[in-house]
Amino acid sequence: MTLRDLKPGQEGTVESIGVSGSLKRRIMDMGVTPGTIIKVIKVAPLGDPIEVNIRGYELSLRKDEAAQIVVK
C-alpha cells in the first residue's frame, strides 16, 4: 500500500521510498523516512495534490509522488 491509497484522516508508517535521485532526496530531506508516521489531512478541492502531516508540520505532494511512498 502507498501513501496515495490513504484517505483523509488515515495515517500510516513509512516503509520505503520508490524513486531515486533528487526526488527521493527531496522527499527524505523533508522528513519522510522509514519508520515515520504520516497522516493524510486533506485532498485539494480539485482532487490533487494532497496535504499530509509529518513530524509536526504540513507537507503537500502530488498523488503520483505519494504513490512512491510505501506505507503500512
Binding site: S22, G31, P34, P49, G56
Partner: protein
Amino acid sequence: MKIKIALAGNPNCGKTTLFNELTGSRQHVGNWPGVTVDKKEGIYKKDKEVSILDLPGIYSLSPYSAEEIVARDYIVKEKPDIVVNIVDGTSIERNLYLTLQIMETGIPMVIAVNMMDEVESRGDKIDCNQLSSLLGVPVLPMVARSGKGMKEVMDMAISLTGTQKKSSIGNIYSPAIKKAISEIEGLLSDKNEEDRKWKAIKLVEGDEIVQSNISGSEKSKIDAIIADVAKEEGDVEAKIADLRYKHIAVMVRKAVKKKSGHLETVSDKIDRVLTNRVFALPIFALIMYLIFSITFGETVLKFIPGPGVWLQTVVTDFWDGPLSEFIISGLENLGAAQWTVSLVGDGVLAGLGGVISFLPQILVLFLLLSFLEDSGYMARVAFVMDRVFRKFGLTGKSFIPLLMGFGCSVPAIMASRTLDSDKDRKLTMMITPFMSCGAKLPIYMMFAVTLFRDINSVWLVLGIYFLGLGVAIISGIILSKTIFKGANSNFIMELPQYRIPTLKSVLIHGWEKLKGFVIRAGTVIFASTVLIWLLSRFTFGFQYLPEVEMGRSILATLGKAVKWIFIPLGFGNDWRPVVGTITGFIAKENIVATFGVLFHAAEGAADLAMAGEAAIPGVADVFSRVSSVSYMAFNLLCMPCFAAVGALKKEMGTWKWTFKAVLFQMLTAYVVALLIFQIGNLIF
C-alpha cells in the same frame, strides 16, 4: 575588525524577519554570481563592525537546488565567522535536519529557536538548555517578530567569534559508514580538518558536486570504499538521512514536550476554510479581485479611492508637471538646441515617464503580494490550482505570476521567482506576456470605437483576453513537450502556518523588489527609449524633426521597408502599423498616441480614442475588422514592452534565454495573427 555572521535556516522559519530587525534599512539585495538567487547582506544596527548575510532558505545542504548550493558553498568555502541557525520551534524535527548538516561543516554555530510564542500557545515546551547539551552548541529561545531574545542571540554569536570551538556531530552514523568516512578522510588532501571531514561525509552520501571535484589519483580508492559501504548498507544516502532523523527523534524526545494529541491550531482552522472544497476558489477570486482593485482600480468596493491609482497620479503629476517643466525650461534657458530639448523632453523624460508611471502601482502590488506570501496563503493558492496547471505543462505555483500578468507583466515576471524549478520558472515567464496587460487595453478600445461601433466593446475586449489565455495554455503544453521536455519538477512543498506578517517585513520585502527591478531593468529601458526616440525624430540625413513630421524619420523609412512582411497578416500595405508596433515597445499604449501623430489627428484625439470615445480619422481606411483583430493579436503576443523585457533578462539570468523568449513570442505573434487574418477573411 569585521565580523561576518550568516543566517541559515528553513524557508518560513522567520529568518528574514530576524534579518530585517537586525539590519533595518542598512541592507542591500544583490545577486549571487551566476544564479538567479537573491543575496541579502546588511550591517547590524547595533554594531557597525558586524555584517550579516541572510542565506537563502533551505531544507538541506544537498547539491540539487541553486539555493542549497549557494548556501553550502558560502559556509564551506567562504567560512563566515559564525552561523546563526534559526530553527522554527513549531516544526523542530525537520528544522534540526539542516542543523545537523551545518554542524557537519564544522563551522562555529549558535542556534536560535524561533516562534517560541507559538510553541507556548500550543502548550508545547522546548528545553533549550537540554538541547544545547545534546547538540554541543549554544541554543537560545527567540521570538523574531517581537524582537524577544534577539539581542541575546547576537551577543552570544559575537562573543563566540574567534574562539576555537567548532561544532561537530559526534556519533550518529553506523559503524560501517563511520569507517568509510574516516578512511576517505585520510585520502583527501584539503589542509583544513573540517573540510576533509565534511567532504568525506558528502562523498559517502553520494554528493555529485563533491564527487566531481575529486581528482584522479585518489578517486578510484574512494570509489572502492563507497562501493564497499553500499554493499553493507544498501542505499547509503537514504540510510544517512534516516540516521540523522533517528538522532533528531532521540534528542526531541529528551528536550521537547509536546501536548498530547493533534489539537487543531488557529492556523489549521483558517486553513479548513481557505482550502475548503466549496469555498476555496470563490474566496480566492474575492481576494484577487480586492488586490486588483486596490492596485489598478479607481475605487475599491465602490467608495474607497484606489490607493494604486492615487499614488500613480501623484507620481505622474509630479513627473510630467513640475519635474519635466523644471528640466525643460532649464535647458531652454541655457540655450540648448531644439533637438536636445526634445531628446530630454520627448525622449528621455517621456519614455522614462511611461515606465515611472506604473512603478507606484507595481509597488502597491508587490506590497500586497508580499503580504499574501509572508502570511502563508500563497502556498495554498498553488496547492489549490496545481491540478489545473499541470495539464498545461505548468504548476500551481505559476498561477499567481500569470494572473498578475493581467495587470502588468513586470511584477508578474518578477513574481515567478517563487517557482523553485528552473524549468517552471522559465516556462512561466515566457508565456506571462500573453496575458493581456493593462497597457494593451487602450489599443482595443481604439479599435472598438473605430471599427466595432455596433457591438459592445466588452465582447471584443473579452475575446482578445481569452485569445491571450488560450495561446498561453497551448504554448505551455507545446513548450513543456519540446524545449522543456523531461525537465522534472515536483510539488513537495511545505504548507507553512498562517502568520500575520509584520508591517516592517512587508514594506522592506516590497521595496527591495521594486529597487532591484529599477536598478537592473532600468538600463535596458533607458537605452531602448532613447534609441526609439532617435529613430523616430531624425531622418537618415540626421536632420531633426518635430513630432508631426515623424513620417519622414528613420523609423518611418524602416517601417516602409519592412511593411511587406505583414501583408499576410493584413496590415502590411501601410507603413504606419509597423511603426506603431515599434513605438509600442516602450509602452504598449503608445501605439494609440503614435497613430494620433502619424494619422495627423487633432490634439487630444489619441486620448479620446484610448478611452473608446472617438475614432482617429484615417485608421478605418487602413484596417478592416479582420485585420484590426489580427493587429491587436500581434501586439498582444509579440515582445512585451522594454520594461518587461528588462524584467525578463533579470529573471532569466542570461541574454541567451531572454532572446529565446522574445523570439518565441514574436513567432507566436506572427503565426497567430496570420491565422486570424487568413481564416478570418474566409469566414467574414
